[in-house]
Amino acid sequence: MSALYLQLLALTVASEVLVATLLAPAASRARTAATALLANLTTHPVGALLLIGSVAPFALLEFLVIVAEAIAYRRVTGLTLQRSTLIAIVANCASLALAAVIG
């Protein structure tokens, strides 16, 4: 694993924690931030391994990551499924956009 991967992981975690925290209700922000951190530590390495191994198309992997993270937000924070899904989608779009900008 290269240092670049760790930088990408840190960037993804930072951006998604920020977005998830902003989208969470005030009373759940700390818990949502912790969930975003732990969920990304889980999904990012697994997704990267599957992506590098060309196991599945990128779009499918990204979809599965969003589903997994939405489930995590729902189960850990107790937020509604709609809110959990919204947070997962927006956070992943934000980190994807950031990666595209950085190149």
Partner: protein
């Protein structure tokens, strides 16, 4: 003469993808001595004299083929004038998803045989690099470390779920 089917690769980048620099390198060997090698597309522009041991660009979309010329032979200036006896080259890795760490690929070729009828090459090595120029390490050690990080994340999620604090209904 070696004739391989060229993979067609679109020249455009799909949304969410980034360009990869894929170069070829001709390995020096007995079969390369006494020949001048040229990379030329079957469509498009950019006839390039290949220096053995130095990376050169190619394109699957434009059907770059490798040609060999005797010393002193006239190298055509236009792809129109090439006789199609050149060797086909490996499929170009054109792009990857933006989250993919791959930035550059260097494929090393060995010339197996050259004669006036054509040229035969084989791929002997392929190196992949990330944007920092470091080799893209995809070995077991890297995978184990990544799975270790994932395990920590998953364990944290399980722990935090067990300590779940109810959220007030107005916040849901």
């Amino acid at each position: 003469m070696l004739t391989l089917a060229l993979a067609s690769a679109p020249d455009l980048l799909f949304p969410g993808h980034k360009r990869v620099l894929h170069q070829l390198l001709l390995q020096s060997g007995p079969a390369t001595s006494g020949w001048t090698f040229v990379a030329a597309p079957t469509a498009g522009f950019g006839v390039e004299v290949v220096t053995v041991g130095e990376p050169f660009a190619f394109s699957s979309k434009y059907g770059t083929r490798l040609h060999a010329f005797r010393p002193g032979a006239t190298i055509p200036a236009s792809w129109n004038d090439f006789v199609n006896t050149g060797a086909a080259l490996p499929a170009e890795i054109h792009s990857v998803p933006v989250m993919h760490p791959l930035a550059r690929v260097l494929t090393t070729l060995r010339v197996l045989a050259v004669d006036d009828r054509g040229i035969a090459v084989e791929v002997v090595d392929e190196q992949r690099f990330d944007a920092s120029g470091a080799p893209l390490y995809t070995g077991i050690g890297a995978a184990a470390l990544q799975l270790g990080i994932a395990a920590i994340g998953l364990a944290g999620l399980v722990l935090i779920t067990r300590r779940r604090a109810p959220v007030a209904p107005r916040h849901r």
